[in-house]
Amino acid sequence: MSQKAIAGVTVDVTEEGYLTDPSQWTKEIAVEIAKEEGLELTEQHFAILNYLREKQKKSETLTIRLVGHSGIVDIKGFYGLFPGAPMKKAAKVAGIPKPASCV
């Protein structure tokens, strides 16, 4: 574990850049991490981030399918908002641990 200054705040992150303590997360941090990932966050991005943070708090397994059933976007839309590796990118920006699911 190491520390990193993001948006003027020092937070604990893993080697891969995932926040280890979701409570350290702020919207400013999200914007900053998203920028590193080449993303410009919209309202819809934040709706997904909040949804994932909420599910993570309840210790639910985070899957692409779950996001598809969220009512916020369908799976195609999710890939569109976080191109490439949506689950990992979204988790990183949402300040939650890297998802450990195979689906």
Binding site: I64, R65, I75, K76, G84, A85, P86, K88, C102, V103
Partner: protein, 167 residues
């Protein structure tokens, strides 16, 4: 000094030639997993694997109950092969496999294919096997990208950092 530089996977081409639950789902999980990582993904269904993309069959796949030494009773006791021959046993075992997968939030075949497609993965059917089984394109799931010869499929598997996986 050995060279430690790594070359991450850019594309996977997965071939599925069998139609049992475990063969098809191994293919789907690997394909969807690759799509989720941002790896370009192409899947080629051939021979009995075509059941996975045949509308009539895709949601009624079975697992074989004969000749599988890893098969166990729910308590972990060995599963005698002779039991697998009894009518209804294969269907029962298959239903149990499906319910276990549902608990882990693993989707059914059709939904799984749709997830792969939504993420940009491409699904193909084998022309030769379709001719063999007298299948027409209309018999297949609508999302397939095409019916290919083996040569066509190899042509789609080019490029550095590409792997072909035969499940």
């Amino acid at each position: 000094m050995t060279n430690k530089e790594e070359f991450p996977l850019k594309k996977v081409c997965i071939i599925c030639a069998k139609g049992t639950i475990e063969d098809v789902f191994a293919t789907l999980v690997m394909a969807n997993g690759a799509v989720m990582e941002g790896i370009e993904t192409r899947v080629f269904f051939t021979f009995f694997g075509l059941d996975a993309i045949t509308k009539k069959q895709m949601n009624r796949l079975h697992t074989g109950t004969i000749g599988n030494p890893a098969m166990r009773m729910p308590g972990g006791l060995p599963f005698p092969s002779i039991l697998g021959m009894l009518p209804g046993v294969e269907a029962g075992v298959s239903a149990m496999m499906k319910s276990q997968m549902e608990k882990l939030d693993i989707p059914g075949v059709k939904e799984f294919l749709e997830m792969i497609d939504a993420g940009g993965g491409e699904i193909y059917a084998c022309k030769l096997a379709m001719d063999m089984f007298k299948l027409k394109k209309e018999d297949l799931w609508e999302g397939i990208k095409g019916v290919l010869t083996v040569g066509d499929f190899y042509a789609l598997c080019g490029g550095l950092q590409t792997q072909i996986i035969f499940t």
